[in-house]
Assembly symmetry: C2
Homo-oligomer: 195 residues x 2
């Protein structure tokens, strides 16, 4: 997915890279693709436009890179238990939609399909995220932590959608507490009120 | 919430009103507030710009009106049972985010806070929707359909967020079937796999 073109042999400053990625996500979140321009990102990051072009050949490449490093990394989740994995997944969603990248994440969902050079990467990222999330539930079934008939789609829709909805509608909350309560509610743990 | 200013005595054609509301939601969904202009909506609806100004004094008034009539009407939900009410609520969310107003609904969540004249109306609409949804659950508790300790926030986060997530990520689905399964999953009915 990385289509960054780095000038060979040029040493990179991770702090500058982070600042540029942050500026790119903020710009995209505020202005959308229509307002996303290399010079706007450069100004916001406090670097020269030329040095941006030295690192990324186009604004499509810059945004793809910022999105890849800055948003959710569902693929890496593997804590050893299905409850741990689902809590981690909920935490990532809560952090994403309550944190500084919220605008970029929502813009992406809204606009990705119509941005040339981003649409395919976004579709691939979504597919890989969905597969990673389904793998978490299937591992739980294999380990005997969940019944074989667990409705994977319903469980993930309500977990991921519930975390997103809470982050978007609640003024303030404790992420770890809510993530645990959400997973216990959906898994029907002893605290589940409907059992 | 309606701030429409109608010229007195002027008969209105409901079909034209519907076409204008549709054009307003489509324009806002595609272009956001930055691209929302009376003449763009007029052209798309096939009416004169002057006749739009006869009905609405400003583009804020036009968009508010289109959003009020075109989006979710949670306040009217009262089927007599909590399951019926929650299925109706899920159906409204599925229709909204899988239907033609999806773009407008997502733009609204993203941009409402920063649009002058819309922000306050949006906040009031959200508050009234949340209160209506909570009232549905409380009626269910009062009627003895749900236990007294039902976690209202978790139930509504997962119901509304789950429906939204499903509509945004599934290519095709049967709304009535999914709405029923979603509610049964969350209420822990006989089909609940974790009981």
């Amino acid at each position: 997915m990385a289509i960054r073109t780095t000038a060979p042999g040029r040493p990179r400053d991770p702090e500058v890279d982070r600042r540029i990625a942050r500026a790119a996500l903020d710009t995209f979140g505020e202005l959308g693709w229509a307002g996303f321009a290399m010079e706007v990102v450069a100004r916001r990051a406090g670097v020269g436009k030329a040095s941006l072009y030295l690192r990324w050949s186009s604004k499509e490449a810059l945004l793809t890179d910022a999105l890849t490093t800055g948003l959710v990394r569902m693929n890496d989740v593997d804590t050893g238990t299905v409850r741990g994995d689902l809590v981690e997944l909920a935490t990532q969603m809560l952090d994403l939609y309550a944190g500084p990248s919220r605008g970029a994440a929502m813009r992406l969902a809204l606009e990705a399909g119509s941005i040339p050079g981003i649409a395919e990467n976004y579709a691939a990222m979504r597919t890989s995220q969905i597969q990673a999330a389904r793998a978490i539930v299937r591992r739980g079934i294999t380990r005997g932590e969940l019944p074989a008939g667990t409705p994977v789609t319903l469980l993930l829709d309500t977990l991921i959608g519930g975390a997103m909805m809470h982050a978007l509608s609640s003024p303030a909350f404790d992420t770890a507490t809510y993530a645990g309560q959400l997973v216990d509610f959906l898994l029907g743990s002893p605290s589940h009120p409907f059992e």
